[in-house]
C-alpha cells in the first residue's frame, strides 16, 4: 500500500506542475542532450533555440503568432529521450519537435512522430535518420557521407592511396566508420588499418603504433572532443609525420585549445561557421552566419559551435515553413518543409524535397587546415 499512496502523491504533483501556456502561440518542442556525455551538442543547441525564440518574439513572432519553445533535456539517455518525446507529443501538444542531439535517440523516437503525425527536425547526422525517408522526419546537419567525400577528394588530389582510419566507438564514430569503409574502397583507395578507440579512452598511442606499422599515406580520425585531440597529441609524441585528417565533429576552437601545438597542419572538412571571417561577402550564408555569431556572442558571451548551428537551422527552417504556408499546423509544417529550396542556413544551403529530408550536399563543407592555432581555408 505504501507504493500506492506514493504513486498517487507523485501523479498529483506531476499534474499540478504542468505548465499553462498561451493558447495561440506556436508550440515548438525540443529535446537536446543538455547534460550527459553528449552535452557538448545539447548545450549550444538549447542555448541557440532559447536565444532565437526571444529574438523572434521580440520581433513580433511569425505570422503575428508568438513562438513558444519547450526544451527537454534527455541527459544523453535513450529512455529519458523517449519520455521527453511522449511528454511533448501527449502532454504538451506541440506541432513540431526539434532535436534530439544524438542519432541513436533520434532513431529511437522517430516512429512516434510518424504515428502522431508531428514533424521531427533532428539535429543528429546519421544517414539512417533520413534514409529511407520517413515523411515526418527531417534533419539539418551535414551528412557524414558529404564530409568523407570532401576528405577523399582532398586525399586524391594529394596523391594518397593507402589510408588508415581511427574511429571512436560511439554512435558518431560508428556512422563515420561505416561510411569510410564504404567510400574508401569505392574511391580507389586502399584501407590499410581500421582501428577503434573508446569514447573515454585517454591514450591512443597503441592504436597509432599499430597504424604506423601499416605505413599508410594518411590517417583519418573520426570522433568528437576530446578523443581526437588526444590522437593529435599522441601522433606528435610518437613522431608520426603521416598526414592526419579529422572529421567535422571537431570543427571548433575547443579542439585547437585541447590539441595545442599538435593541431598544426591537421586538415578537416568544416561548415562555414568555423571560419566566418573567411566567407566571402557575396556568399548566401554570409548574413546568416554573421547574425548568428553576433547574437550568440551577445546572449551568452561565448563562441558559437557548429552544433548550435544545427539547432539554428532547424528552427529557421521550421519558421520558414510556417511563414511560407501561413499555418502552424503539424501537417502543414511538414508539407511546407518539403517545399523549402535554396534556404541559406548556418550549416549550408537547404533544399528539401519528398525524397530528400536532409537538404544539404558537399558544398556545405569547406576543407580547412589548422595553422598557427587558427583555421585556414585550403580550397
Amino acid at each position: 500500500m505504501k507504493a500506492a499512496k506514493w504513486v498517487v502523491a507523485l501523479v498529483v504533483t506531476l499534474l499540478s506542475g504542468g505548465q499553462v501556456l498561451a493558447a495561440d502561440a506556436i508550440r515548438i518542442g525540443a529535446i537536446f542532450s543538455v547534460t550527459g556525455p553528449a552535452s557538448f551538442l545539447g548545450e549550444p543547441e538549447r542555448n541557440t533555440l532559447v536565444m532565437l525564440q526571444d529574438k523572434v518574439n521580440a520581433a513580433g513572432g511569425v505570422n503575428g503568432q508568438q513562438v513558444e519553445v519547450i526544451v527537454y533535456d534527455d541527459e544523453s539517455d535513450v529512455n529519458k529521450c523517449v519520455m521527453a518525446a511522449k511528454k511533448l507529443l501527449d502532454q504538451d501538444g506541440v506541432s513540431v519537435v526539434i532535436g534530439p542531439s544524438i542519432s541513436g535517440n533520434t532513431l529511437a523516437i522517430s516512429k512516434f512522430f510518424s504515428s502522431a503525425e508531428v514533424p521531427l527536425v533532428s539535429c543528429a547526422a546519421a544517414e539512417k535518420i533520413v534514409k529511407p525517408v520517413d515523411p515526418w522526419v527531417f534533419n539539418t546537419p551535414q551528412l557524414d557521407r558529404h564530409a568523407v567525400t570532401k576528405i577523399l577528394q582532398n586525399a586524391k588530389a594529394k596523391g594518397f592511396s593507402k589510408l588508415a582510419i581511427l574511429t571512436v566507438s560511439d554512435g558518431y564514430g560508428q556512422a563515420g566508420r561505416a561510411v569510410l569503409n564504404e567510400l574508401i574502397p569505392a574511391g580507389g583507395f586502399q584501407l590499410v588499418a581500421d582501428e577503434v578507440y573508446g569514447p573515454k579512452d585517454t591514450d591512443m598511442t597503441a592504436q597509432l603504433t599499430k597504424i604506423k606499422g601499416a605505413s599508410p599515406d594518411a590517417i583519418i580520425c573520426w570522433g568528437t572532443n576530446p578523443g581526437p585531440a588526444v590522437v593529435a597529441r599522441n601522433r606528435v609524441q610518437l613522431g608520426l609525420t603521416t598526414p592526419l585528417y579529422m572529421s567535422h565533429g571537431v570543427a571548433s576552437d575547443k579542439f585547437i585549445e585541447l590539441a595545442g601545438d599538435a593541431a598544426e597542419g591537421l586538415i578537416l572538412p568544416a561548415g562555414r561557421l568555423v571560419a566566418v571571417d573567411l566567407v566571402p561577402a557575396d556568399h548566401p550564408q554570409k548574413p546568416v552566419l554573421d547574425a548568428y555569431v553576433a547574437d550568440y556572442a551577445k546572449a551568452y558571451n561565448a563562441p558559437v559551435s557548429s552544433f548550435g548551428g544545427y539547432a539554428h537551422d532547424a528552427f529557421a527552417l521550421v519558421l520558414e515553413a510556417v511563414r511560407k504556408g501561413g499555418s502552424a499546423k503539424a501537417a502543414d509544417i511538414r508539407d511546407n518543409l518539403e517545399k523549402i529550396a535554396g534556404f541559406a542556413g548556418v550549416s549550408g544551403v537547404y533544399t528539401y524535397g519528398p525524397e530528400n529530408h536532409n537538404g544539404l550536399d558537399e558544398s556545405a563543407f569547406i576543407m580547412v587546415t589548422i595553422k598557427n592555432g587558427t583555421w585556414n581555408v585550403t580550397e
Binding site: 506514493w6 506531476l14 539517455d77 542519432s103 541513436g104
Partner: protein, 326 residues
C-alpha cells in the same frame, strides 16, 4: 511479514497498478509507469540475490541487455515470431547467467562484485562492437512491437497492463519462494555458510539458483523493454545501470520486495521531478541519495515500518487516554 500480509499487499499493488492509468492523463505517464515496472522487475530479482542470499551483482544490466538484444535480433533480423524470440532471449540469458555464475559465485564480497562487474562490461562491449548484429553504439532499430499470436499490442495501455501483470506474477513467485524452505536456505547461507552447509544446504547450488533466477527476472524485463520501445542501444545496459539497480534495492531496504519496487519507482521517477531544476538535477539526485541512506539506513521499507509503528503507538496512546477520559 507473514505470507498472508504479503499476499494482501500484492493484491492491493495489483489493483493499484491496474487503476493507475485511469488517473493519468496521457501516454507520457504510462511510459514512466512501464519503465518503473521494468526496473521493479529487475530490482525484485536483485532483492532475492543481494538482499536475501547476500550475493552482490554489478552485472545485471548485462543480462537485461543480453535478453533484449537476443530477442530483438531473433525477431527483427531472423524473422522469428515475437513470442518465440522473447522465450529464446530469456532462455539464452538464463544459460549465460548459469555459465557466468558457476565460476563467479565461488568468489566473495568485493571480488564477486568485480567478477560480475567484469562480465557486465564485457557484455556491454559486445553490444557496442558487434555492429553487424546489434547495430552498434547508435542502437538496434526496427524491433517489432510486443505481440501475442500475431496480434500486436498496439496501445501503450494494453502493453502496460501486460508489463504490470508480469511484474505482479514475478512478485508472487518471489513471495512464494521467500516463504518456502528455499527462501529460508538463502537467508541462512547469507548469515552463515558453514551452518547452512551443516544443515544440508548445497550452498553453491543455491547461490547459482538464485543468481540465475534473478538473471531470468532481468531477462524478462529486458525482452519486454525491447519489444515495448522497439529500439535499444548499448548505453542503456552499461555499468551505471547495474549500479542504479543496486541503488534501487538498497534504497528499498535490501530484504523487502515491496521496498525494492518502491526503490525502483523512486529512482525512475525522481529525475522526472528534478527535471525542472535543469543542471542542478544531478547534484540534487546525489544529495537525495545520500540523505536517504543517512536517514533511512534500513531503506524505505524500514522507514515506513518505523513510521507505521509510531503512528500505531500514537493511536494506541490516544485510544488509551480517550478511554481514561470516557
Amino acid at each position: 511479514m507473514s505470507y498472508r500480509k504479503d499476499m494482501i499487499w500484492l493484491g492491493c499493488f495489483f489493483v493499484l497498478l491496474m487503476l493507475a492509468p485511469a488517473a493519468l492523463p496521457n501516454n507520457y505517464f504510462l511510459t514512466i509507469l512501464i519503465l518503473g515496472c521494468l526496473h521493479s522487475l529487475n530490482a525484485v530479482g536483485l532483492c532475492l540475490l543481494v538482499g536475501h542470499a547476500g550475493q552482490i551483482s554489478l552485472g545485471h544490466a548485462g543480462f537485461y541487455g543480453l535478453a533484449a538484444y537476443a530477442s530483438a535480433w531473433l525477431s527483427a533480423t531472423a524473422g522469428w515470431p515475437v513470442e518465440a524470440s522473447m522465450l529464446a532471449g530469456v532462455a539464452l540469458t538464463v544459460a549465460v547467467s548459469f555459465l557466468i555464475g558457476m565460476p563467479s559465485l565461488k568468489l566473495k564480497g568485493h571480488y564477486l562484485a568485480m567478477a560480475t562487474l567484469g562480465f557486465g562490461i564485457i557484455l556491454s562491449i559486445l553490444f557496442t562492437e558487434t555492429v553487424d548484429i546489434t547495430g552498434g553504439p547508435s542502437g538496434f532499430v526496427g524491433i517489432p512491437r510486443l505481440s501475442f499470436f500475431g496480434r500486436e499490442v498496439k496501445k501503450d495501455l494494453a502493453l502496460y497492463r501486460v508489463v504490470a501483470g508480469v511484474l505482479c506474477l514475478a512478485v508472487w513467485l518471489a513471495f512464494n519462494l521467500l516463504h518456502s524452505r528455499i527462501g529460508r536456505a538463502l537467508r541462512a547461507l547469507h548469515t552463515s555458510e558453514k551452518a547452512a552447509q551443516a544443515m544440508g544446504v548445497d550452498i553453491a547450488r543455491y547461490k547459482l539458483f538464485v543468481f540465475v533466477l534473478s538473471a531470468a527476472f532481468s531477462a524478462v524485463a529486458g525482452v519486454l523493454y525491447a519489444h515495448y520501445l522497439t529500439f535499444i542501444a548499448p548505453s542503456s545496459f552499461g555499468f551505471m545501470f547495474s549500479v542504479e539497480l543496486i541503488v534501487m534495492v538498497v534504497l528499498g531496504g535490501m530484504v523487502s520486495v515491496p521496498g525494492a519496487i518502491v526503490g525502483a519507482f523512486f529512482v525512475t521517477v525522481l529525475p522526472e521531478f528534478l527535471r525542472a531544476f535543469e543542471n542542478i538535477e544531478v547534484v540534487l539526485f546525489g544529495a537525495i541519495l545520500i540523505l536517504c541512506m543517512m536517514f533511512m539506513p534500513d531503506g524505505m521499507a524500514g522507514g515506513w515500518n518505523r513510521l507505521w509503528a509510531r503512528v500505531r503507538r500514537a493511536w494506541a496512546a490516544r485510544g488509551a487516554s480517550g478511554a481514561a477520559h470516557g
